[in-house]
Amino acid sequence: MDAKLNHSDLSALLAKQAEISGAKAEVFTKAFFDIILEGLEQDGMVKINGLGTFKVTDVASRSSVDVNTGEKIEIKGHKKLTFLPADSLKEKVNQPFAMFEPVEIDESYVDDSEEPAMNETEAQEDATAVEDTPVTTPCEEPVTVEEPAAAEEAEPAEDAEIPAIKEEEVTKEEETPATEPVAEEVPAIEETKEEAKEATAEPVAENAVSEQPAQREVKNSYPITEPAPATAKPTTNRKRGVIYTLFIIAAILVAVIIYLRPQLFGIVETGKKTVATVETTPTKVVEEVKPDSVEVAAEQPIEEPYTFAMVDELAVKSVGSITRGDTLLYVANDTIATHIVAADETLVRISLKYYGDKRLWPYIVQYNKLHDPNGLSKGMELLIPRLQPAK
């Protein structure tokens, strides 16, 4: 095993194998290699059955480059001794790997598995790319030629969401508009037609935007117009698929955004509402504004922009529940204490300490005319106002 055997070792082995004396074997092996050499000198080749062929071959002269000097040199042709093992020898030596045979590599199967995957991801990338850019994407242009209905939907769908949200406010308190029942019937029919994807997307949207039926209706209503181009142009199925996925992704995105940042909408709404109420007559205010903000609105004329700003601030701070006691406006008319801020003390804590309500801190900010509510520092003196309900 991995041993290095020399001439005498070989002779000894031969003596054992052929059952001859060692000396004889030695002579024999020596003669064996000597005659090979002689034969090579004589004919240039020697063939031995079972071992292989020794051959002297010519190597043509070739030009090369001296690695040290970079000069061109010519390597002269010379003769070389080669050995070509016999098949039987090759076979015997290669026995450990004899069971292997060349295998054809089927490339097509690799391609099949990879290419569709690539296409899918590309399509998705396209979709998301379109998604990220504004609603008026150039991607839809090729489609618009054939299916203007489907293409147009993208914009109304997106645009409609904002009006829908606003509209929904109105519908909640006053009447349900005529469009709602119509739209609600549509989903019943359409949902069966809609793909499984959209179906799964729906519940998500529903959970997320449970208080916005108007928006869902918008989503459900696009299939109304879409089947028409489908039947008219079956070849555009793929494009339609892309648009479908666009819609679905857009809907999910909007739903997620609304779900995650409801305050964005909430703030905008309350802000707008209050502005509106300031401008419009008090009777309208009562109709349009939610019950909680009614009080605020009613207070507005008395309280001036100062309190108005405060209300906004409150709204910003506590978006979730609007029904709470501190929507009552207070008037800060007197200083009840001077508070020296301790380390790690926050306005919320101070508010809790003096008023028993952590949501009343904006009054302290207001009263002390602090520029940065988060910039409290240790040792700061704060005047704590007495709060009286403004009535």
């Binding site: 194998q17 090979i36 090579l40 001794l81 090759k90 060349p102």
Partner: protein, 91 residues
Amino acid sequence: MNNKEFISKLAKRCGIAAAEAAAGVDSFVAVMTERLKENDQLNVSGFGVFEVKMRKERVSVNPKTGQRFLVPPKIVPSFRPSSKLKDKFNE
């Protein structure tokens, strides 16, 4: 020089019959094969070295059809002539 010539020459040199020489060659080749199978290296001074080499698997392409084949690994016998032998042919 073919096998027959080689054997007759060998018989003459050793002073034995051709058949005997042939048997001797066969057994000697058998010994060498056996050793090579065991991954042994056979050094014959003044002649060269017989050894086996491992060839790794590779992918070959049929240039005509473009088919790709995975060629399995294999063990091949090889011979390295001694430097003395190399020089001998280039004198």
